[in-house]
Structures are given as structure tokens and as C-alpha cells.
Symmetry: C2
Amino acid sequence: MTSRDPIADAAARLLAARPTASMAEVAAAAGVSRATLFRRYPSRSALVIELSRRAVEAYTAAVEEARLEEGPAADALARLLGGLTRLAPGYGLLALQPIDEAVEADLLALAAETDDRVRRMVHRGQESGDLRVDVPAEWVLSSVTWLVVAAADGVRLGRLAAGDVERLLTMTVLDGLRRRGASAGDAAG
Amino acid sequence: MTSRDPIADAAARLLAARPTASMAEVAAAAGVSRATLFRRYPSRSALVIELSRRAVEAYTAAVEEARLEEGPAADALARLLGGLTRLAPGYGLLALQPIDEAVEADLLALAAETDDRVRRMVHRGQESGDLRVDVPAEWVLSSVTWLVVAAADGVRLGRLAAGDVERLLTMTVLDGLRRRGASAGDAAG
DNA sequence: CTCATCTGAGACATATATGTCTCATGGGGA
DNA sequence: TCCCCATGAGACATATATGTCTCAGATGAG
């Protein structure tokens, strides 16, 4: 996950994994001094807002790139998982940072449009027989979001190989959500 | 999730959902004053250690109650999910609290024995043909752990009904991890 | 070589959180 | 009714974190 701002990237990774980290620790993780961090971001709150904005943008971009309206829903879901797997190490648990409520409301509103695209993909998959109908789109959204965090955490702890997680995720999520009887590669049940 | 100590229960729930909450906020959530909280737990660190100990104990008890050595592994996994679903609201993200490294090492060692029981259940399920063999036990452990957190989070946010989550989890996790061709209730593929 | 820009280090002020202590109050048991 | 225990509230001290500022040094461009 790359961005134009290595300080923001390092900060996001640290705060995603360690929500209670101080600004001194964030600066150290970013390889700069506290003074430089504060030159770039005037407060911890400003930093968290910026990182949260980037997280929502990255999520929206990943959903865009997954082209959820194209092809079988299962394939679209696989593409989505690929994109989100790349985001999770840097953004996964950032939502745990305290943030101004008005800003949070704005960000949630932005993310809501993107969430809706995912829901619509789930619904069309259920209508086409591609995805199981006994699972609400809400659960698909939640489980996908948290499983990419699980994958990132497993890699961070050295329990999973980074090269394996996308395949594992895709396999297990698809088999958990696909309609019974459908298999990988099938377009019909 | 009930315990003999309502202060500890409330503290665990708050810190699981909001890792950056202060002791004042913990006290408020527990319905006691800061003075009383400090009478019961001499420091934030002491509180976090106690809550972490309880989390590991509860995890161990849930794995014990799931009787992972009995019956088909898929059934054992379903029982485990049921037990862990009840734990997640109170303990899910508690691991994000900073804790003394020596204490953490002790707790990890305790949890490791319980983790091994889960791994053994996965292995015997793979040997018996009950669970898919292309997914490492590590991923089973990770995904189960984080999906129960996802379920708890979904309920907390009002997106999922508490009564539904165990069924949704069990269905989707089992279908994601079961060997291809096996179905609910089957003992053979 | 000079100058502008950026940075790190550390001092300092402020804010917040933690932890301690004291006193008044309330509840329950004898 | 009395006494003991537990509690809340708030004051206070200490620690930690945040945020600001200044100065020296390094780097790169002209």
C-alpha cells in the first residue's frame, strides 16, 4: 500500500496495529522527529482525520477497481478481496481512533456510498443464484472487512505468509458465501 | 457474558470497543466513581492485566466446553463458534491494550495450549475428510477469532441482530472451511 | 561559497490522565 | 439507634502526552 506521504503511511500502519501509540511513537515509526511530525500535521486529531480520510478514499478506490457490477458476483467479490487485502495492513483498525463526531459523520457518509455498491453486488449475486440468499449483505460487508484485518494481523504476527493470504481469504470467503452447489469457476449452480 | 465482577465486565466491554478510553470513562461505563475503580484495581495496568487474564480464561473455558475432540470436526467447530460468539462483545479487541511484556508472554503461553487444541481439531477434521485440507489451521484460528469480533461489532453498531449472529457465523464459517462436497449434517463427503 | 529550506533536539508551557487522599453520605447489620 | 463498611465527589500531586518554540546543522540549488 503506497502513497505519496511516507509519514502518513507509517502513522497509519502503527495506529492500525496499536491504537494507543503516542505521537512520539508515531514520529519514531515514521522515522522523523516530533517537531517534523507536528510541522506536517498540526495535531494528533488532524493526523487521525487525514488518515481516516485516506482510508475511506482507498476503500472507495478499491471498490471502484473491483468493478463490482461486472461479471459473476463471486468473481467481483474475489476482486474486491484482493483490493482490500492490500489496504488492511495500513488502515485496518484505524477506525478505533477517537475522531471528531462531525468529521466521522462525513466520513461515514462517504463510505456509505461505497458500502452500498458492495451491498448491490451481493444482492445481484443472490438474484442470479451466484451467492447464497440466507446471508444478509450486512454480514457480507462485516465479515469481508474484518477478515482482511485478520489476514493483515496474521501476517504481522508472522503466522501467515503474505503471499498466501489473498488466496486463503478468497477461497474461504467465497466458499462461505457462495450458494450451495456452485463451485469456483462455475457460472451456474 | 457474565462474571462475578460487573465492574470488570463493563470495563472489558468498553475497552474492547474503544481501546483509547480513559479510566474516567471506564469508571462511568461501570457505573462507579474513579475512586472506587482505583480501590478495586490499583492502576490501569493492573486492570488491563486482570481483564486479559479473564479473557484467556474465558477462551480456554469456551474451548473446553466445545469438546473439540468429540464428533465430526465441523460439529465441534460449530460448538466453538457458539462459545466464542458469546465472549467477543466483552473481550474481542482487548488484546490491543498495552500490557507488560512479561505478563503478555505468560498469557500468550496460556492461550497457546488452547490454540493447540483448536489446531488439533482442524487437523483431525482434515484427516477425516470433514474439513478442507488446503487451509492451514493458522488461518482457521485467525479467521474464527476475528469473525466473532466482526459479529460483535455488527451487533454493537446495530447492523446485525444479536439473535442472528451465531447462525450466520456458523453457516458461513463452516461452508468456508468444510471440505468441498460435504454439507451440514453429513458425516461423510 | 552562499543562501534558503528542512530537519532534529531539546526546552518549555499546557492539557490530560493517572493515582492518592480526605470527608461526607448512605446502607445494612446488630 | 449505632456502627461499620463501601462509596462518591472533589481536591491535590504526579506523570505523561501534546503542542510550541528556538537554535544548530545538513542539504541542495544557484
